[in-house]
């Protein structure tokens, strides 16, 4: 065997080795960690519309049908959620990764009060509809199509993360004088024993109607 053949085979072996390395490395990748909100995205004081942002007049109540968050490429239908036996908000079926839910016993998005929308950060197969919720920044737009044909446009006021045992019910679910919206998903770290350790909550208020 001449040196040229040997060299070609060595190159082939090297390339095969690199491909194998890449496959092993990417296949063994640990769980993807959903982005978490930075401290700068939290409210500086009590929740409310950001200073200087417009506050649109609330709409009449109408069923929401779809949510879009262009900044994080969310475009998903909405299902109606109730409460679990322990009073916590039910969640959409985890099987469908591209499905969010709204709390049907409360304020519909766009109406006066605090509307609540929840979506999975992931399911057994991988990232789900609100995977990137924690990467939203203040000022991002959230659009909700409603059954009355109108689209309620909300603007993010803050994104915060809370430990499960320190979830601020009043802050998140409490009443609002405006048409407010809360987007909720899991976050705040993860362990195999306990699952997600907290929730990411994005606060928004109605700034426009189309």
């Amino acid at each position: 065997m001449d040196r040229g053949t040997l060299g070609a085979r060595a190159w082939t072996a090297g390339i095969v080795a690199l491909c194998g390395l890449w496959l092993v490395q990417s296949g063994a990748a640990d769980r993807t960690v959903a982005p978490q909100p930075a401290a700068a995205q939290a409210f500086e004081a009590d929740p409310g519309p950001r200073a200087g942002s417009t506050v649109a007049a609330p709409l009449r109540a109408a069923e929401p049908v779809r949510i879009r968050i262009p900044r994080i490429e969310v475009d998903a239908p909405l299902t109606r959620l109730g409460l679990g036996a322990d009073g916590s908000l039910d969640v959409p079926p985890a099987r469908d990764p591209n499905l969010a839910g709204w709390y049907g016993g409360g304020t519909p998005p766009g109406a006066k009060g605090t509307a609540i929308v929840a979506g999975h950060v992931d399911n057994a197969e991988g990232p789900a509809v609100f995977y990137a919720l924690g990467s939203l920044k203040k000022g991002a737009a959230v659009e909700i199509d409603r059954a009355d044909g109108r689209t309620a446009v909300f603007t993010i006021d803050a994104v915060e993360v809370y430990a499960n045992d320190a979830f601020p019910d009043e802050r998140v679910y409490g009443p609002s004088p405006d048409a407010s919206l809360r987007l909720i998903t899991c976050g705040g770290g993860y362990t195999d024993e306990t699952g997600y350790l907290g929730n990411v909550v994005a606060y928004a208020h109605l700034t426009g109607v189309r």
Partner: protein
């Protein structure tokens, strides 16, 4: 302080009245008042025992006065109020139910109010919430009045965190790992073989 006998008389009177009302009004009305009714009427009926109540209907008054039973106005008013409050709930039953319920009350009220097996907590219809607090979006749309209370009330809003993740994002891909491992192994074997060949060739040519 009244003698126990009179207390019992008053209690029995209240119980009988309740039984009669159970016959003539909605059983749900009776059942509704049961949780607290017997205790209250027992306490309030006793002081004024001895008079017949004017405000009762002729039949009611007859029924009780004939037996020597007496009823205090307050107790009657309470019972009446209790019955009217629930008479519109659409839960009207047939009279046999009322009779049974009344009999139960009469038997039990004197000794152990509230233990009547006919009174099952939670079986009565839920109170109708005050107007304006129902945030149901299904109702005809209307512009919310300025004074409307916040749609979410502490009783019907969620509490606690939300379980919106299972932590399954990108679990290890075993098939990909196997292929990658195979490629690595093949490359290693090939590399070793190539190295030995190379060394052998080098030795020979040198």
């Amino acid at each position: 302080m009244r003698s126990p006998a009179r207390l019992v008389t008053g209690t029995a009177a209240a119980a009988l009245t309740a039984a009669a009302l159970g016959l003539t009004t909605a059983p749900s009305a009776y059942a509704d008042g049961l949780g607290r009714g017997p205790a209250l009427t027992a306490a309030t009926a006793a002081p004024d025992a001895g008079e017949c109540l004017d405000s009762l209907t002729a039949e009611d008054a007859e029924a009780f006065c004939d037996d020597g039973a007496v009823l205090d106005e307050e107790a009657a008013a309470e019972l009446a109020a209790g019955s009217s409050a629930w008479s519109g709930t659409g839960d009207e039953g047939d009279s046999p139910t009322g009779t049974n319920a009344g009999a139960d009350l009469g038997a039990n009220a004197g000794t152990s109010p509230g233990t009547n097996p006919g009174a099952k907590p939670g079986t009565r219809p839920l109170p109708v919430p005050p107007p304006g607090t129902d945030p149901e979006p299904g109702r005809p749309p209307s512009e919310p009045p300025v004074t409307r209370p916040a749609p979410t009330t502490p009783t019907d809003r969620p509490s606690g965190h939300v379980r919106t993740g299972v932590g399954g994002s990108a679990a290890p891909d075993t098939a990909q790992l196997a292929v990658g491992g195979g490629l690595l192994g093949a490359a290693a074997v090939g590399g070793v073989w190539l190295a030995r060949r190379s060394r052998a060739d080098g030795t020979r040519s040198a």
